[in-house]
Symmetry: D2
Subunit: 296 residues, 4 copies
């Protein structure tokens, strides 16, 4: 298939490459000349503008930092929707506000263009390995059209509901993940302060009613889990500042819907304190340091 790929950051570049490896004809664009050069070096065809990249494409995929970038790419008189032929399919993989996704889907529908929001989880590791999870909002028909493309980049594909539902599902999941990480860190720190071995306590809780994803895959105590970021000085996972951003989006969403999320709000503010203390670039499991004496 002819695919235009817009946004070649840490996530976007390996995702585009996996499409290329799967045999799709990918034309890529990014505002950064460096990112474009790197993409070309890996064998991707590149274009001079988003509109150029999109010319002749069956599918346009975007992976951008925030709502404003996505709206600027697609909407308005100079946006892509105004120049794409009817029948094109837009797959926006950015993590943005659900309201923006809905705005995009409505505008696309007016041009006869299919559109899904398909934010991902799985991090840069999952992007490189092609094992991402997609949470999709949009019609079942558009999702079926997108499926072979998504399968080249990821493993699990969930249909969350109508336009915007992918964003909502992702933000709910990541808010919960932030809570799981802080809560698990608290339980482990409390046990250790009372003399327990963190590996023993982790194993007990993992197999009891405290069991959760962080105890399965991502233990925050150094040395307990060999492959977790905690065991390599909290490098190389999902950064504190990215978790802080997602927890902020969850609070925005709660404010818009007048929902109450006390633990989610507190997790956001604890991550903010952790970031202010200078740990924004560390993996998000490093939040356990907020609950421990600094190593001497």
């Amino acid at each position: 298939m002819h695919i235009a790929y817009i946004g070649l950051g840490n996530m976007g570049a390996p995702m585009a490459l996996n499409l290329h490896k799967a045999g799709h004809q990918v034309t890529a664009f990014d505002l950064s000349p460096d990112a474009l050069r790197r993409a070309a070096r890996y064998g991707l065809r590149t274009a001079a503008s988003a509109a150029d990249a999109a010319r002749g494409a069956d599918v346009v995929i975007s992976m951008l930092p925030a709502s404003a970038h996505v709206e600027a790419l697609y909407l308005g008189p100079a946006g892509l929707l105004a120049c794409l032929p009817a029948g094109t399919l837009v797959i926006d993989c950015s993590t943005i506000a659900a309201a923006s996704s809905r705005r995009l889907a409505e505008a696309a529908a007016q041009h006869g263009i299919g559109c899904i929001d398909a934010p991902v989880s799985g991090g840069t590791g999952g992007a490189a390995a092609g094992t991402l999870t997609f949470m999709v909002g949009g019609s079942a028909g558009d999702l079926e059209r997108a499926r072979p493309v998504l399968q080249a980049m990821g493993q699990a594909i969930f249909h969350a509901g109508d336009a915007g539902a992918g964003q909502t599902a992702k933000i709910c999941n990541n808010m919960l993940l932030g809570i799981l990480m802080v809560g698990t860190s608290e339980a482990l720190a409390l046990g250790v302060a009372n003399g327990l071995d963190p590996a023993v306590l982790s194993e007990i809780m993992r197999r009891s009613s405290g069991g959760n994803w962080t105890l399965e895959k991502y233990n925050p105590v150094p040395g307990v889990m060999e492959n977790a970021p905690a065991s390599r000085h909290y490098t190389g996972g999902f950064g504190t500042d990215l978790m802080l951003k997602d927890l902020g989006l969850a609070q925005d969403s709660a404010a818009a819907a007048r929902a109450a999320t006390p633990l989610g709000g507190l997790a956001r503010n604890l991550y903010a304190a952790h970031s202010l203390a200078g740990h924004g670039a560390l993996d998000f499991s490093s939040v356990i340091r907020l609950l421990q004496k600094p190593a001497p």
Copy 2:
């Protein structure tokens, strides 16, 4: 084996019965004549006092409401430790302060009596079915002596560490469980407020990084999980007031150890508000009601 069983409440009675069914010679005692009569009706031998029940026993098991009851049973000049022969094994299954468990273990050691703290999780359902989980503090030798007895009452047995470690492990686990339940409720309520189907969102998070025990076994939204208390009007599970008690013990433990548990402390206070609103007797998954409009 000859077993004295002290404390025949909602948990203790079915546990004693399972020992009896497994072929042990159980003599039971409770301060409540009603509880004693019920036990006799189920075929248990009963005694007129704890000391009477303990006469000739190889193992004494206790299942009592709080630290004060346990200390009154065993310690002091009139306590059981003063009259049990050296070599007896004490298994205290009560959920109490770790400091009380350590006090009991030290006093037992002075009498040459073995002692483990072995609080349980699994609720009255697990007690009846013999599928409880035991979290054990004490020596490996005492645990091995206790193992055949514990196996008659439960499925999983974890050795958490020295005396008191069973209590600490249980309280860490249950604090984390309280956080999981409130956090999962928040994520589901946020999704529903944004138009998502709670069953769809539950399934997505369960299989993603938000996965946790409550999404596996104990979904708080009515109708999502047929066998969960939420689907029977929040009856018949682990009560709000019991979770409130455990979260309070966790804060006690945090205060004693100068540990920081912000989400655990907040969960305790949210459960307190939920109980004050009149929901103390409902299952603890009903805390989601604190985050929802009341049904009309």
Copy 3:
């Protein structure tokens, strides 16, 4: 002075009337015909559009619900800034995002129009009595030009800093007020649960290091303070949903500035739960009900 007054809601109408009473020539506009009729009945001259109202005005005052309304009024090719003569002074009394206020101030400067953000505190009572507090962002010169106009509507005028600083000061103050109210309610509820008389405890804390504005002016326990909303069934003060909105703005501001405000975030989510329980229209001091058994 000739004043155009845009926005005649619960706050705007009495503010405009006070300007009229002070001898200013006020022309008023609101999108709601009802609001316009009421204003005319009170003796205000009314106009058919904002632009009509602004014709010939020395000063334009706006009091609108949210950022979007303010930006729609002033900005864009059809906005007021495009038709006001240089030298006009714009006073925006709306409580909106500081970023919006800065955007407005920059656009005004390009047209040679003076501009301050001047959000108020004091509620509808203060608006009617002319005792509002203004927190002003903008240049000292523009504030001095505005001072006589502000003095006709309020008592205290604070210069918080440059454009947007009025909004920031208000949102910081109101976030703190939300915390004071919840915190004071907690302390009083804890004392009462331990048998203390709330009036006695209030007086002790008011004169000790717990002293704060809510204990001076706005006690949340019914009967302690005759004139407080608590003593008239929580009616007639500053509504729960308005406090919820301001606490949400504070979290927006914290997210934008990457600031950490754990108590502020928690207060927002507690007010959200209180509103969900059906108390959104009650005075914000009613949040103490979240911490008490319901009256029988």
Copy 4:
């Protein structure tokens, strides 16, 4: 009057000295020989034991660290109550659990001994200057007998209610103080992160509805208030670890009374994190550092 004074720590020693200066005949005792020697050097008569100090005293005053010390001093067969003549008055100024104070008062009543709990606020500065605040639990009659003695040590005397009420009032007040300090720090940090001058914002909030004791007397931002601990590197005030202890007592009290204090619980856990980070000995206003980037 003949006064026995037990407990000559940082608070007790200057309090005893003020009684001496006011003309009372004070006999002092402390378990620490160093403390006794210091007291003697300042001119106080000292005794070899608490019982010796109490012989012939009209009034016994105690100022001890925790419930266990107070109970050990007065209760049991070897306690002071067993040897004091009926008619003596006991004034316990320690900050302890209200339940301990009630236990002491009941035991005293059985011996015909008057008893009040009279915990103080005002810190070591107030102790030295004789400007402490006393929050008193007990009968009005006992308080009147104690008044001249208390007046030699303090300025304000509040009658909170029956036995234990002094403790409850103090703990409610100090929980609220902890909330005020964290909340005010958050508001100031949020304002500064948005470009406001902390002195200007402090002044605005002090005179608005955010007004509270910390803005009057104890501003947490260095340089805003010359005499506050913040302006001398957070030294010399009320320590973080003392606030942490009081916030822990408040959570104990909330657990015992099944009260909900979400902000109080969160403040306790934030102070715990601040202490774990190594700031336990700094003044409690230093908690603002948890919300700021560290100085470079």
